[in-house]
């Protein structure tokens, strides 16, 4: 076995498996570097194993208490689950606020425009005239430009 394989076994292999143990043991006997590596690995592994073992062995876990607490949790979760239409509204609540604000703004704007239009009665025809004049001007300008392009 090569050192690389030994490291691979230390990282992924299960020490509990006899084949892994004997392979590592065999290699470590002839390779001081891997022997040191294997010792450190074993110490670290036993540290990870012992993380929760400092507590006194699990005091009798009260099944009834657990069951009651889980039952209470389940009931609380059931009560807190909103109805389908409620959950749909909750999920789009922020968008609803945005739509409402936009709608209010548009209503206010159109209301103001309507009031202004009523106040200055003849304004609309004047605007229409301006628009039609403007289009006529633009079309004559386009025609002139086309002529100039053709001449070029």
């Amino acid at each position: 076995m090569k050192c690389r394989e030994a490291i691979r076994l230390m990282t992924y292999g299960r020490d509990a498996e006899t084949a892994v143990r004997s392979a590592l043991k065999g290699h470590a006997a002839s390779c001081p570097k891997c022997r040191h590596e294997l010792t450190t690995h074993s110490v670290l592994k036993s540290l990870v194993e012992q993380y929760s073992n400092h507590q006194a062995e699990q005091d009798a876990w009260e099944e009834t208490r657990l069951i009651n607490q889980v039952r209470a949790r389940i009931h609380a979760a059931r009560e807190n689950v909103p109805l389908t239409w409620e959950s749909a509204i909750i999920s789009i609540r922020s968008w609803l606020f945005a739509f409402a604000a936009a709608a209010i703004f548009l209503l206010a704007l159109s209301g103001q425009l309507a009031v202004k239009q009523n106040q200055s009665g003849g304004a609309a025809p004047q605007i229409e005239d301006l628009i039609s004049n403007n289009t006529q001007l633009n079309s004559s300008r386009d025609f002139n430009n086309d002529g100039a392009d053709n001449a070029r």
Binding site: T11, V48, H54, Q69, I74, A77
Partner: protein, 232 residues
């Protein structure tokens, strides 16, 4: 091995044939039967499942957390999540593994929450702990056995060592070394690919070695400082 008859015998169900007819295709377990009853509104059946599996869930949570409140919270959360996801459980699969998966994911979420809140506090090794480490590192790898008092010291060092690791590293190391899972089992539990688990395991091992070296260097610096004070 299936078998309606055995389930009927175990639970004393007379009309089992009709109840279980739809599941004849897959081998059903006793857990499947209890799950089916729970899905039909029988809460007592779910209590039986809890009684049967709570020790395993408790032991998983304890691998990751020491505080009893946290452990209890994770156990309760695991069972309530399991209750609401029972319909997604595939009949015939191992229920304890399915439950373990939920428990491990809960522990992982809690580790990540704690990391975000930066609840980690790295402290130096005490003299006893350093002495213990020295003695263990001088032994042969296959001769490391811990007495009761040594386990307490090991647990203290372990807390200092693991607290600095990322949640991913802790998850992989715990599943690999404390729970003794294979790479394939970890991939199944975490939902990661086997290649990802291998990469994670390799990185986690490296991170733990670094944390270990940091702990020991801090101890060495402390010793040098004490010796310096004495010579003055």
């Amino acid at each position: 091995m299936l078998i309606n008859q055995s389930i009927e015998t175990t639970f004393g169900v007379g009309s089992g044939e009709t109840e279980l007819a739809q599941f004849n295709a897959v081998p059903l377990t006793a857990d499947d039967f209890l799950i089916e009853k729970t899905l039909n509104g029988d809460e007592v059946a779910f209590e039986s499942l809890m009684r049967k599996h709570h020790k395993r869930v408790f032991s998983i949570a304890r691998r990751f957390f020491r505080s009893r409140e946290t452990v209890e919270d994770i156990v309760q959360e695991t069972f309530s999540k399991a209750f609401f996801s029972l319909s997604s459980y595939r009949r015939g699969a191992a229920f304890d593994q399915w439950l373990a998966k939920i428990a491990v994911n809960n522990c992982y979420d809690e580790l990540r929450r704690r990391k975000k809140r930066s609840e980690s506090l790295i402290t130096d090794l005490s003299d006893d702990e350093e002495y213990w480490l020295e003695s263990k590192l001088s032994q042969s790898a296959f001769d490391i056995h811990l007495s009761e008092s040594e386990r307490e010291i090991a647990a203290e060092i372990s807390g200092k060592l693991l607290v600095g690791l990322s949640p991913e590293d802790r998850l992989v190391l715990t599943l690999l070394h404390a729970e003794n899972n294979s790479i394939r089992e970890i991939a199944h539990i975490t939902g990661w690919s086997e290649a990802k688990v291998k990469i994670r395991a390799f990185r986690a091992r490296h991170a733990m070695r670094k944390a270990f070296a940091r702990l020991r260097k801090a101890e060495e610096r402390k010793t040098v400082a004490i010796q310096g004070d004495r010579t003055k």
